[in-house]
């Protein structure tokens, strides 16, 4: 028996880190996209530079399910270290593609899968004498063979080779030759295509393929960030690296070549956030990009920026914690640490993008929110969004859009006699005016401090002054609710007692799970939360349902805790659905856990009750 499907399967490449497999695998994924077939690639990699196991998975999905599916239909097992485990993970009736040059590593052979042995090493050794060439072209030969086995359009691969080596033309022909070596071998030795195959489609549309970190970096460019201070940390480093790349392209004065930005690789995360706070205090749009350990280190200055009311933008690409945790595995585990960051009573603004397109929009928007609200704003990505290429709608920018610099009193305002009290709520929205340093010779100067202050920024340990300030900060949080991205609600279209709340990278898996659950006879309303503090709609959604599942990727149900805490919801009504092993959450997981619970509650599906 063998699995059969068109444009609907999961292929996984098991490789060794640093062996040059990444670019070949990426070319394979892009060729599928170019055939108009939606696909979702994922990198599973170790915290290592060379030698450890790494996997690249491509989910081919005509239906457009971009979340991880779970399971492997075709395993391309190129790593002897993980061979046995890789073989064991193939779905029954699936396919194992392996290098048949040498005997397979000892292990229990499987009789319930289809074996496709290709003598990759032998083909390479015959063709090439240079060891590095043998290594690199082996990956390309393998892709060539797959193109025949899966009925992939070889011209798409050839075009991609041409694009990839545009500047190194002499590499184009050898790569195309290697593709054809593999393809010819497969055609000569196997019945092509196999049961799982590709067929040209038109389901990709105008979507683009981009990593969330690159999209966030573009968002910072478009959002007007001029100062970036950062410290390298997986999985966030490529945010700053992409920002550097894009600034190099778009942010130099065409006449003088001078830079309209400054990027500092700081000595640590504390200095990074210190620079961001200093720059933002002085009127520049500034951000840092980091991950969980960096968030822990930055705590003191988050509290300072909250209390002294300094705009700042923090992009947190979450990875599995606690401590060093699993640096190359994904989680949504920093919500509480960001929402209540620093000692004392604090609450911070969080943005929760679902994909690269929202990473772009929310990052650009974060600078407006931060300036408007004069407070730190956290953009919470995770490794799944940040470091994987994902199909998403094209990035868009409205050229009539202006940066909202918030309430800044100018020299002209001061000259005209406007009263300036740095922490005075003059408009009733709890947001005071600020001045940039150096604005006016005699007016508008003030002292910024982390010690308690009165409405005119004077040092004060008077209880009444302190309480007034702290209450105003709470009211400012209320103002934020009306400004931030609202939650997105999808109702099932028929009455149900059950709802689901989810956010961030869980979105594609959740949408697919909802379809599976519908097919199982369960009706669910969905709400995707996009920001903290929560909009009133979140409370209404919960009020509309008896029970709400809260699906998230951490052990302690952090979003659920925030909802319970901030909206005073009875915890019994919020059922945690938690996935936190570091792999991407899947529709299979969500639908089985929610489905089993609904079954256990002995819910009679509505259509049965009515029939």
């Amino acid at each position: 028996m063998s699995l059969t499907a068109v444009n609907d399967f999961v292929i996984r490449f098991a490789n060794v880190n640093g062996s040059g497999s990444a670019s070949a695998n990426e070319m394979f994924a892009r060729a599928i996209m170019r055939m108009g077939i939606p696909m979702s690639p994922r990198n599973v990699f170790p915290s290592n530079i060379q030698g450890l196991p790494t996997w690249y998975e491509v989910r081919v999905t005509e239906a457009g399910h971009l979340g991880a599916r779970g399971g492997t239909d075709i395993m391309v097992a190129m790593n002897p270290q993980t061979y046995n485990a890789d073989v064991a993970s193939v779905e029954p009736d699936g396919y194992l593609i392996y290098d048949s040059t040498r005997a397979m590593p000892p292990g229990k052979p499987r009789t319930d899968i289809n074996l496709i042995g290709i003598p990759l090493t032998a083909i390479c050794n015959k063709e090439y004498s240079d060891p590095r060439q043998r290594q690199l072209f082996k990956n390309i030969i393998c892709i060539g063979a797959l193109s025949a086995l899966l009925d992939m359009d070889i011209t798409e691969l050839e075009k991609l080779v041409g694009e990839q080596y545009r500047s190194k033309e002499k590499l184009i022909q050898p790569n195309i030759h290697a593709l054809h070596l593999g393809r010819a071998y497969a055609e000569a030795n196997f019945k092509c295509p196999i049961g799982l195959r590709l067929q040209r489609s038109d389901k990709v549309g105008d979507r683009i393929l981009i990593e969330g970190n690159a999209a966030a970096a573009l968002g910072a460019v478009y959002g007007g960030a001029t100062v970036c201070a950062w410290y390298p940390i997986t999985p966030s480093s490529s945010v700053a690296e992409n920002f550097t790349k894009f600034c190099g392209k778009y942010r130099h004065d065409p006449a003088t070549g001078e830079a309209r930005y400054a990027i500092v690789q700081a000595e640590d995360e504390i200095a990074s956030i210190g620079m961001v706070v200093g720059a933002a205090w002085n009127g520049a749009r500034a951000f840092t990009a980091t991950s969980g350990p960096g968030i822990s280190l930055m705590q003191e200055l988050f509290g300072f920026a909250y209390f002294a009311e300094i705009p700042s933008v923090i992009i947190d690409v979450q990875r599995a914690g606690p401590s060093t945790g699993m640096p190359t595995r994904t989680q949504q585990c920093d919500l509480i640490n960001c929402a209540y960051a620093s000692h004392g009573d604090t609450k911070h603004v969080l943005l929760l993008p679902e994909d690269a397109a929202e990473a772009f929009e929310f990052t650009a928007g974060a600078f407006d929110y931060a300036d408007r609200l004069q407070t730190p704003v956290f953009v919470l990505l995770d490794l799944d969004i940040g470091m994987n290429h994902r199909l998403c709608r094209p990035l868009q920018w409205d050229d009539t859009r202006f940066y909202d610099r918030g309430k800044v009193m100018t020299a002209a305002d001061l000259e005209a006699g406007k009263d300036f009290g740095r922490y005075t709520d003059v408009d009733g929205d709890a947001i005071p005016f600020r001045t940039y340093p150096g604005t006016h010779p005699t007016k508008g100067g003030y002292f910024t401090r982390g010690t308690s202050h009165d409405a005119r920024a004077k040092y004060s340990e008077e209880g009444a002054d302190y309480v007034e300030g702290m209450q105003r900060l709470l009211r400012k949080h209320e103002t934020a609710k009306g400004i931030l991205p609202r939650p997105v609600r999808h109702d099932a279209g028929k009455p149900t007692r059950f709802g689901v709340i989810y956010y961030g990278s869980t979105a594609p898996a959740m949408h697919e799970a909802a379809e599976i659950l519908t097919a199982r006879g369960h009706t669910l309303d969905l709400m995707r939360v996009r920001a903290f503090p929560f909009h009133q709609d979140v409370a209404s959604f919960i009020a509309d349902h008896d029970f709400v599942f809260v699906v998230e990727q951490n052990r302690d149900a952090q979003l659920r805790s925030l909802i319970v805490n901030e909206l005073d919801i009875d915890p019994v009504r919020l059922v945690p659905i938690l996935h936190y092993d570091g792999t991407s959450i899947t529709a299979r997981f969500i639908s089985s856990v929610i489905g089993d619970r609904l079954d256990a509650l002995k819910v009679t599906p509505l259509r049965k009750a009515m029939s």
Partner: protein
């Protein structure tokens, strides 16, 4: 401390600088430090230097960390924006502020706890980046606000007020600054205004990372026999290598100096530093020699003061980054946002 508030009115005959400001225009709230604190003398020296340089008070950003020293920005340049940050993090906050607006004058005020312990890393990195600033450490060798613990600049063998002997080696911040590539390094003494004021003026005029280690005795916790940061001890062991006169602009030098007794350094802004040699062999343009001299004299128990090193050709972080002349905080959509057409192209390249 004094509870008397300063009167607001000015005597009409108070002297004015070239901008028409009096010294009072550079003052601020009354100090709440202990009476006789060395830090207040440093504040007075900053006021005097700013007055004499005729800088616009509001074009200064004064940034500090936490501690007695870091409180002092409240006590000078009242028209300036001040930033009393968190412990040990003044250098990063100042770096960010400087990147946002290269046109202001940045005055970083710190102490030995703030810079030699919790903030030692940031102290080092701000200097090695060449941030254009005047970084002053008000160095008393002791934690004052928490009542008398040793700081990392306390000399080994020196005694605390309670009689404990310090067994840890001292960090010499001026020596560190030299090693880290600061382009202006000086040490002075809060009790020597004649030496300190011109040094601060020269540091402000310097384009690049200027560091001044000012020994500033703590009257309350570190002014006893056995301390090496007491008024008496510093006076007895002070070894000034030079005396500085600073000329702003390219004015002709009218004072006659004995030949061979003067070193002149012209800085980027045209200011001329004229150093009268007190030690004939000392050359403040030689970083290596300065480092050696400091180590040798420290080993002899002497406190070397004066302008230890200056590089008149120094450049700063903005120079390294080649940033635009217009401050980054004044750039707007037209300069910063590539627009929808560029985005369409980016999208097209991602398909």
């Amino acid at each position: 401390m004094t509870y008397l508030t300063k009167p607001k009115f000015h005597h009409p005959s108070l002297p004015k600088n070239t901008l028409g400001y009096t010294r009072r225009d550079y003052e601020a709230a009354t100090s709440t430090l202990c009476a006789g604190c060395g830090h207040d003398s440093i504040s007075a020296a900053i006021i005097e230097a700013s007055f004499e340089l005729a800088i616009e008070p509001h074009r200064v950003a004064k940034i500090s960390g936490i501690g007695c020293s870091s409180k002092t920005p409240t006590y000078f340049l009242g028209a300036s924006h001040g930033f009393n940050s968190v412990h040990g993090r003044m250098p990063s906050v100042l770096t960010g502020a400087n990147l946002a607006n290269r046109e202001l004058i940045y005055l970083g005020i710190s102490g030995d706890g703030d810079s030699a312990s919790i903030g030692f890393g940031q102290f080092a990195h701000a200097l090695r980046r060449g941030v254009n600033m005047t970084y002053i450490v008000e160095n008393n060798g002791v934690y004052g606000l928490t009542k008398g613990q040793f700081s990392a600049t306390a000399d080994r063998g020196s005694k605390s007020k309670k009689g404990a002997v310090n067994t840890d080696n001292a960090i010499d911040l001026a020596a560190m600054a030299l090693q880290l590539g600061a382009t202006f390094v000086a040490r002075s003494f809060s009790g020597d205004k004649t030496q300190l004021v011109p040094i601060i003026k020269a540091a402000i005029a310097h384009r690049g990372a200027a560091f001044i280690d000012v020994i500033s005795p703590c009257i309350a916790f570190n002014n006893h026999p056995g301390s090496t940061k007491s008024l008496d001890y510093v006076r007895a062991h002070n070894e000034a290598v030079n005396a500085l006169d600073i000329m702003i602009g390219r004015d002709a030098i009218t004072v006659d100096y004995e030949p061979g007794k003067v070193v002149e350094v012209t800085q980027h802004d045209g200011s001329v530093l004229t150093l009268r040699k007190l030690n004939d062999d000392y050359d403040p343009s030689d970083r290596l020699a300065a480092m050696n001299f400091l180590q040798q004299e420290t080993a002899k128990g002497r406190i070397v003061t004066g302008l230890l090193y200056v590089d008149g050709e120094a450049d700063d972080l903005h120079g390294h980054f080649n940033t635009v002349a217009m401050p980054l905080n004044q750039l707007n959509e037209p300069e910063l946002c590539p627009g929808s057409k560029a985005l369409d192209k980016i999208n097209a390249g991602l398909r």
